[in-house]
Every structure is written in structure tokens, then in C-alpha cells.
């Protein structure tokens, strides 16, 4: 289903939960709404479902305005954060609910439920009640139940929030494959950037009721358009005085420019380890944290804190040690605008034969 | 569920009927009695209340209800504690029989008390104490009809009290009695208090159990509800309304206080 949203607003009393949000979603795409909790993602999702009425703005499904359509008639499937399974019904009855509402004949219902049960790997659990299932299984039931009436749009509110971290990754891949296979337009809400990046075709970053940026995970990572996106995606260090950093001395001090630097923009090493020695500066190692597959290093440069990672293969650094640091690029911004600045010193000073 | 019915018309008429019922059944009668008692002016209201029989009846009711509530608070706290904390034979039977006073018609309760301790009872023969038609009988009736309140108020709180909270206190070196007074009692207190207040408001309102055994001697064993009944019977609804308003106001204040207490407990 093709979806278009125009100037959507939602106010709860004096709280402006959603502000002038507009976007379009192509048929068959898997979209992730990403942002901090309480940022308005769920409100947008619920307005798409018809569970919440917009204060102003329009929602179009297939070019048809659906604002006045109740949830019953929107042809959507909704997976709730806590699944909201009917706890007095078996797995079978839960999945069959939407079909019974539509008064489908018994044989058809049986066949469809059977198909979904197999699709979601719940075979053998049809006669269990929700409280006899694990978190992951409940999630699958909720998913199957939402899919049963063949909706044109699937909405998932924090679908993995209530699941153990270990099973979560497994379920993510499963869900992505499943939705890909069915080709159904889907939107899911999450506050976990890793989850959004891994699962979604496209991410919409939503914060304080506003749509900050929409794009593929890679675009968003590579070209954050607002300071919020830059700081929210990845683990950036906020630098107040970028002028102290080698290569960035020429940045204007007057216009209130600040910088965000991602760990992967930073190269750290003992003196002599970094090839472009002329572009490096001195730094002190403040702390080291072992992160399983690499070291996370907290550096201090002229009183400013900077985070980066270092491979386990390289020589181990120690707290207090003096090291060399190269900043490849920085994300700069002030009140009006933001841009990415490459370190000018990185341009190889020695001309090589062309 | 935004509306119970698909059709707006149905849904609106249902809402209207339910709220008219609610307002007509509960709100209008209460407003009615307040306006009625002031209908002949504030002076007649005060006149009605300054009748010594009237205010003596109210004072007596408050006194006896307070005694009954104290007794029930003590007994109820003990039984509530025993029923939650200890395992013993017959526990389930006792737990279900606690609600008997809620199920038994109050008039029947009054009648049984009359049989048990009245002038022709074994109790009277053995001890020769005149209970019925004296204050103790009224207190007994009040204790009986309000018996479950404190227990039922206390039980859920005690059940919810996490055993580990107590154990944490012990590991921090707290003695048994200190743990009781500092950890357990504060948890129990809201339940005991709201139970006791419900019991008190029920006791001052009680009629059925009391009317048969109090003897209704004006100025001595005539409680407020029986006084009101008497005034109605002797065709003085104004006097009845005046005392009612006084009694109602006290009850509403108690109810309001319980509401506050419960909300405080949840926060």
C-alpha cells in the first residue's frame, strides 16, 4: 500500500506530540521509525492505524484520504508492544479472530490459520493459551494474528522491546525475511538504532514530534542532515572547541560552531603508527574499556573528551599513555546549518607520480 | 472501545440513559435531602438539631461506633495477620466465613444477637448481665456488621508485602520488633486505617441490626438512624432530614478521607 502523510499534528492537551510531519512510503517497503522514547513515533503509528485521531493533517492510503475511516476499515495489521493477545483464547482462536469477524467460512479459517501457524513456526502450539508461551512465541502469535486478515499495511509498535536480548537478534532477521517474502508494506517503531539499521529498508528519525530525516540506513549514517541525527546515530563525541584539533584550526570561532566526531572518524596509535604523521596531534589515554571484539578508548585532548575504537590485534594501550590522534573528518553545525568537514591535512603533502 | 455501538444514534442514547439513571438515582436524592432540610430556613434546621434527643442520639452513635471500630481494629488486625502469615488447619474455612456479616441480612443479625444474649437466652441465665437494651448490645451489633472491613482492608497489603523487604531489614541488623514496627506496620497501616474508617462509617449508619436490640430509649440507647426512623414514623420528615444531613456530612467526610488515603497509598 502506498502511504502519504501531510502536515500531521497531534496534541494531547498542551503537549504537542507530533508536529507537522509529512512523508511518503512506497508500496512494499519496510520502514523503521527511530527515535528516543516519547518522541512521537508511536503516536504517528497509532494515527496511521486509526487508533488516535490527528489534531490536524491528512493521511492517504492509495491516494484516498482515510482520516475519517475507523481502524476496522483501514485494512491494517497492528502488532502491539505487549502483543495484546486475547488471553482467554488459544493461539488458534487468537489468529482466527480477524477472520471470524469477517464471517469467513470455517474451512477457510482453518486453512488460513494453519498456513500462518506453519509460517510462524508455531506448529504444535495451536491449543496453548498466551500465558503458556514464551516471549518470542507470543510475538509470533501477535504477528500471525495481525497478518491473518491479509492487511495491506503492517504496523509494529516496538515489536522486540519485550524480548530477551539473545532471541531478539534472531527474531529480527526472521521478521525481516518474513516481511520481505510477503511483500507487505510495513512500518515498525523502535528506539534501538542497531535494530532499525539492521531491519529497515528506510529509516525515519523522529524526535520531539518532528521528522528529522528520512533515508536508507546508509544515507542517514553517511549524511546526517541535522545535529540531532548526527548525535543520535553512532556514538558521537560532542566537541565544543574544534579549533584545538589539528587540521580544524581555521574553523570560525565566532559563529558558535560545534562538532560531532564519530569513533570511526578517529585514528589512534603510538607515535609512528599512523602513516600521515603530519596530520596527527597529541592526546592522552584516559580510560580503556574492553568491548568483547575491540577496545573502546577514551581520549583527552586539551580537556575535551573523545571516543574511538581500536582493534585487539594492535598493540595494547594503557591509561595515561601519550598517543597520536588523527581526525579524519568532523560533523560541524551551528544554529543555522550543518555540514561535514574533511581534515584538509589528509591530502597527501607529497605529490606522487601521476 | 470508543463507542459500544456502530451507530452513533444508539451510542448517544445509551450514554444519555446511563447518565440520567446515575444522576437520578444517586445525585438528585442526595441534593434533595440537603435542600429539604434547609427548606424551612436555617433556623428551623438548627432548631431540629438542638432538640436534646436529636443531638444526644448523634453523640451516642458516634461514641458507640468509635468503640466498635476500636474493637474491630484490634481483632481485625490480629485475624488479618493470622490469615496471611500462618498456615493452620481450618484456615480456608475461617477465611470464607469472614464475609458472613456482609451476606447475612442485618435484621437477621440483630435478631440473632437478641436470641443469643437477650432476656430469655442462656447467656442471661448464666451471667445475669443485662446486655440487650443497653449500650453493649449496640456495640456488639456494630462489631458484627462491620467485622470484615479491617480484615479485608489489611489482607491484600500484607500479601503484597514482599518477604524480601523484611529479610533485607534483618540482613541490615534490624531486630524482630524493630522490623515489625518500621517495615511491616507502615505497610499495614493504610489498610487498617481505611478498613477502620469504612467500619466506622458503616457503624454510624447501621440500622437493621441495632433497632431490634437497642431498646430505643430516648437519650439513653436511641442511636441516630433509629431516631431518624422514629421521626419519619411520627411524621416529622424535616427533623429526620436535619439529623440525616448531619450524619451524611460526617459519612461523606470519612469517605473523602478514605479516597485520599487510598490515592496516597498508590502514589
Amino acid at each position: 500500500m502506498h502511504i502519504e502523510v501531510k502536515d500531521l499534528n497531534k496534541e494531547f492537551g498542551s503537549f504537542h506530540a507530533v508536529q507537522d510531519v509529512s512523508f511518503e512510503i512506497e508500496k512494499g517497503k519496510l520502514i523503521g521509525f527511530l527515535g528516543p522514547s516519547g518522541g512521537g513515533k508511536t503516536s504517528i503509528l497509532r494515527m496511521l492505524a486509526g487508533l488516535e485521531t490527528p489534531t490536524s493533517g491528512d493521511i492517504y492510503f492509495h491516494g484516498k484520504r482515510v482520516n475519517d475511516l475507523p481502524p476496522q476499515e483501514r485494512g491494517i495489521g497492528f502488532v502491539f508492544q505487549n502483543y495484546a493477545l486475547f488471553k482467554h483464547m488459544t493461539v488458534f482462536d487468537n489468529i482466527a479472530f480477524g477472520l471470524k469477524v469477517k464471517k469467513q467460512n470455517k474451512a477457510f479459517i482453518k486453512e488460513r490459520v494453519q498456513y500462518l501457524v506453519e509460517l510462524t513456526g508455531l506448529k504444535g502450539f495451536e491449543h496453548r493459551y498466551p500465558h503458556q508461551l514464551s516471549g518470542g512465541q507470543r510475538q509470533r502469535v501477535a504477528f500471525a494474528r495481525a497478518l491473518a486478515p491479509e492487511p495491506q499495511l503492517l504496523l509494529l509498535d516496538e515489536p522486540f522491546a519485550a524480548i530477551d536480548a539473545k532471541i531478539r537478534t534472531e527474531l529480527r532477521t526472521w521478521l525481516k525475511d518474513m516481511i520481505g517474502e510477503l511483500g507487505i508494506t510495513s512500518i515498525f517503531v523502535t528506539h534501538d538504532q542497531e535494530e532499525a539499521i539492521e531491519v529497515a529498508d528506510e529509516i525515519m528519525i523522529i524526535s520531539k514530534g518532528k521528522l528529522e530525516q528520512k533515508g536508507t540506513p546508509w544515507e542517514i549514517y553517511k549524511h546526517p542532515q541535522t545535529p540531532f541525527v548526527a548525535s543520535f546515530i553512532g556514538e558521537s563525541s560532542l566537541i565544543e572547541r574544534i579549533q584545538c584539533f589539528k587540521g580544524f584550526e581555521d574553523v570560525a570561532t565566532s559563529s558558535g560552531i560545534k562538532a560531532l566526531i564519530r569513533p570511526e572518524y578517529v585514528e589512534v596509535g603510538k607515535s609512528g603508527e599512523i602513516v600521515l604523521a603530519s596530520a596527527t596531534m597529541d592526546a592522552a589515554v584516559k580510560h580503556l574499556h574492553f568491548r568483547g571484539s575491540e577496545w573502546m578508548i577514551e581520549l583527552e585532548i586539551e580537556g575535551q573528551r573523545l571516543i574511538t575504537y581500536r582493534s585487539l590485534e594492535k598493540e595494547v594501550l594503557h591509561p595515561g599513555e601519550q598517543v597520536k590522534v588523527l581526525i579524519h573528518r568532523a560533523y560541524l553545525f551551528n544554529e543555522e546549518k550543518s555540514w561535514i568537514m574533511e581534515n584538509p591535512l589528509k591530502v597527501d603533502p607529497l605529490p606522487i607520480y601521476i | 472501545m470508543n463507542s459500544l455501538f456502530r451507530s452513533q444514534k444508539w451510542s448517544y442514547s445509551f450514554r444519555t440513559i446511563v447518565f440520567i439513571y446515575f444522576i437520578g438515582l444517586i445525585i438528585i436524592p442526595i441534593i434533595g435531602i440537603y435542600t429539604q432540610s434547609f427548606s424551612s430556613g436555617i433556623t428551623s434546621f438548627i432548631d431540629n438539631l438542638s432538640d436534646p434527643l436529636a443531638w444526644k442520639a448523634v453523640l451516642l452513635t458516634l461514641k458507640l461506633a468509635a468503640i466498635a471500630t476500636l474493637i474491630n481494629t484490634a481483632i481485625g488486625t490480629m485475624i488479618g495477620w493470622v490469615l496471611v502469615r500462618y498456615e493452620f488447619p481450618g484456615k480456608r474455612m475461617i477465611n470464607s466465613v469472614i464475609d458472613l456479616p456482609f451476606a447475612l441480612p442485618t435484621a437477621v443479625a440483630g435478631f440473632i444477637i437478641l436470641l443469643l444474649v437477650g432476656p430469655s437466652s442462656l447467656f442471661y441465665e448464666w451471667f445475669g448481665i443485662d446486655v440487650v437494651f443497653h449500650e453493649p448490645a449496640i456495640v456488639l451489633a456494630m462489631v458484627f456488621v462491620t467485622f470484615p472491613f479491617v480484615i479485608r482492608g489489611l489482607q491484600p497489603l500484607l500479601e503484597e508485602l514482599d518477604k524480601s523487604e523484611e529479610e533485607a531489614a534483618y540482613t541490615l541488623g534490624s531486630s524482630k520488633s524493630r522490623t515489625f514496627f518500621r517495615i511491616i506496620l507502615p505497610t499495614m497501616l493504610p489498610g487498617i486505617l481505611s478498613g477502620a474508617m469504612l467500619a466506622f462509617s458503616r457503624a454510624i449508619a447501621e440500622f437493621g441490626a441495632v433497632v431490634l436490640i437497642s431498646g430505643n430509649i430516648p437519650g439513653k440507647t436511641l442511636v441516630a438512624s433509629v431516631y431518624i426512623f422514629g421521626e419519619i414514623e411520627s411524621n416529622n420528615p424535616q427533623g429526620a432530614a436535619a439529623v440525616s444531613v448531619l450524619l451524611l456530612t460526617i459519612s461523606f467526610l470519612i469517605l473523602w478521607f478514605i479516597h485520599k488515603l487510598n490515592r496516597g497509598g498508590q502514589a
Binding site: 487508533l51 475507523p70 469477524v101 | 437478641l114 420528615p237
Partner: protein, 267 residues
């Protein structure tokens, strides 16, 4: 250990004296004049009529208050068309009848709809009498029992939340279908518990009915007011017969209460 044994023993003593002894007394007392005495008391014309009146009131009141109680609970918990202030206020008002003495509840109806009032005269002119007739008695009992159902159903509705209902709506179900298939299975034991409590309370209602009915033999007398009248007339054995019937019902209700309470907890 010593303390524990002491508390349990004390609990047994209190429960036996206060609850079991009265029960025993009522079951033995009715047979004081043998089976024939009991049957005579029960088969008097006024006994049969009184029991019929009580049954009629119980049925009417339970049906009406169950319906309106459940509807009002749904509105007070779910309705989006009510402002939170109205909801809070209504929620407090629901409890008011608990704080009103039954006698006062009866008085309110007499004051509003009695033969000397404007409304009463108007209704009387078209041949409808409320006070000293069945409608008034039903009204009084409705007033007294109104909060019971709401108090049982509202917390359950709050606890289950509206997510399951929303899920049903996204699956295409309208409210009526959602209510029966999703909401009702969740609240039915709470409703049943409310029904049992409402039956118990309306069966035993005495004060309000006494005031409103005028206690006219073979016309407006109910089982409880008959017990009262028999005692006033020193006809103890007859009173005991009716009281036994009422007590037997109460115990049945008590068992039902236990059963539904347990079912309520399972879900």
C-alpha cells in the same frame, strides 16, 4: 512459636463466638417448636407474600444494577468523550450510597416522591404510587446497592487495559463484537461476583425498605421487615423461621462468593 499458637487460638475463639455461634443459633432456634412450628411460621400467608416480594425486588434490582453498573464502569474507565475531571468526580459520587445510612436512603425517596410531594402527587394523579408500593422499594434498594457492581468491574477494566480491545478493532471488530468476545470474558467473573454481592445486599436490605414500604402486611412487607415485625410482636419462633430461610440463602451466597472470587483470581 508460642505467640503463633496464641494468635491462632485467639482467631478461632473470636470467629467461633462472633460468627459460628450465631449461625448455630439460627439453625437450632427455628426448630424450637419442632418442624411443624417452623413450617407454620413459613407457610403463613404473610410469610409467603413477604418472600415473594423479596424475590421480586432481588431480581429486578440485580438485573437493573448489573446492566447499568457494567455500562457505567465501561464509560468511567474507557470513554474518551468524558473529561478526566467528570470521570474522577463521578467515580467519587458512585461510592456515596455506601456512606448513606439505609434509613436515610429511604427517607430521600420519601422526601422526593412521597404522597405529600409535588412529584408524588403528580404521579399519584396518573395512578402511579411510588412510596408505600413496590416501585419505591425497588428504587430504595437500587440506591443502596448501586456502587457494588461498579466497584467490582471498574478495577478489572482498568487492569486489563484497552490494548486487547484496540487489537480487536485493528482486526476489524466493532465494539459490540469486541465487547462480547474480548471484554466480557475478562470481566465476567467480576460481574458474577458483583451479582452475588448485589443479590446478598438486596436480599438483606432492611432500613431503606422499611421506611419506603410502610411495612404493610401482605402488600409491601418483605422477608426482613417481616422478621422485624414478628420480633416486635414477640413471635420469636415465627421470626426465626424466616430468619433461617434468609440465613440459608446468605450462606449459599457466601459459598458462591468464595467460588467466584477464586475464579476471578485465576484469570
Amino acid at each position: 512459636m508460642m505467640m503463633r499458637r496464641l494468635w491462632i487460638t485467639l482467631t478461632y475463639i473470636v470467629v467461633s463466638l462472633l460468627l459460628l455461634l450465631p449461625l448455630y443459633k439460627i439453625f437450632t432456634g427455628a426448630w424450637a417448636d419442632g418442624l411443624s412450628g417452623f413450617m407454620d411460621a413459613l407457610l403463613r400467608a404473610q410469610s409467603l407474600h413477604a418472600l415473594k416480594m423479596t424475590a421480586l425486588i432481588v431480581i429486578i434490582v440485580t438485573v437493573i444494577n448489573t446492566l447499568f453498573g457494567v455500562m457505567l464502569s465501561i464509560y468511567l474507565v474507557r470513554a474518551t468523550w468524558l473529561s478526566p475531571l467528570v470521570k474522577r468526580l463521578s467515580n467519587s459520587i458512585v461510592d456515596l450510597p455506601f456512606a448513606v445510612s439505609p434509613v436515610i436512603g429511604g427517607l430521600m425517596i420519601v422526601l422526593l416522591l412521597g404522597p405529600n410531594t409535588v412529584l408524588g402527587t403528580m404521579l399519584g394523579n396518573v395512578g402511579v404510587s411510588i412510596v408505600y408500593a413496590l416501585p419505591g422499594m425497588v428504587l430504595a434498594t437500587l440506591f443502596v446497592t448501586f456502587p457494588i457492581m461498579v466497584r467490582e468491574v471498574m478495577p478489572v477494566l482498568q487492569e486489563i487495559g484497552d490494548q486487547q480491545e484496540q487489537a480487536a478493532s485493528t482486526l476489524g471488530a466493532y465494539s459490540w463484537y469486541t465487547f462480547w468476545k474480548v471484554t466480557w470474558p475478562n470481566i465476567r467473573f467480576a460481574v458474577m461476583y458483583g451479582v452475588v454481592l448485589t443479590v446478598a445486599r438486596s436480599l438483606g436490605e432492611f432500613g431503606a425498605v422499611l421506611v419506603v414500604s410502610g411495612n404493610i402486611i401482605n402488600k409491601t412487607q418483605t422477608a426482613t421487615t417481616l422478621v422485624y415485625q414478628d420480633v416486635e410482636n414477640f413471635n420469636v419462633v415465627a421470626a426465626n423461621g424466616i430468619a433461617l430461610v434468609l440465613a440459608a440463602f446468605s450462606i449459599m451466597l457466601l459459598l458462591l462468593m468464595e467460588w467466584t472470587k477464586k475464579r476471578k483470581e485465576v484469570h
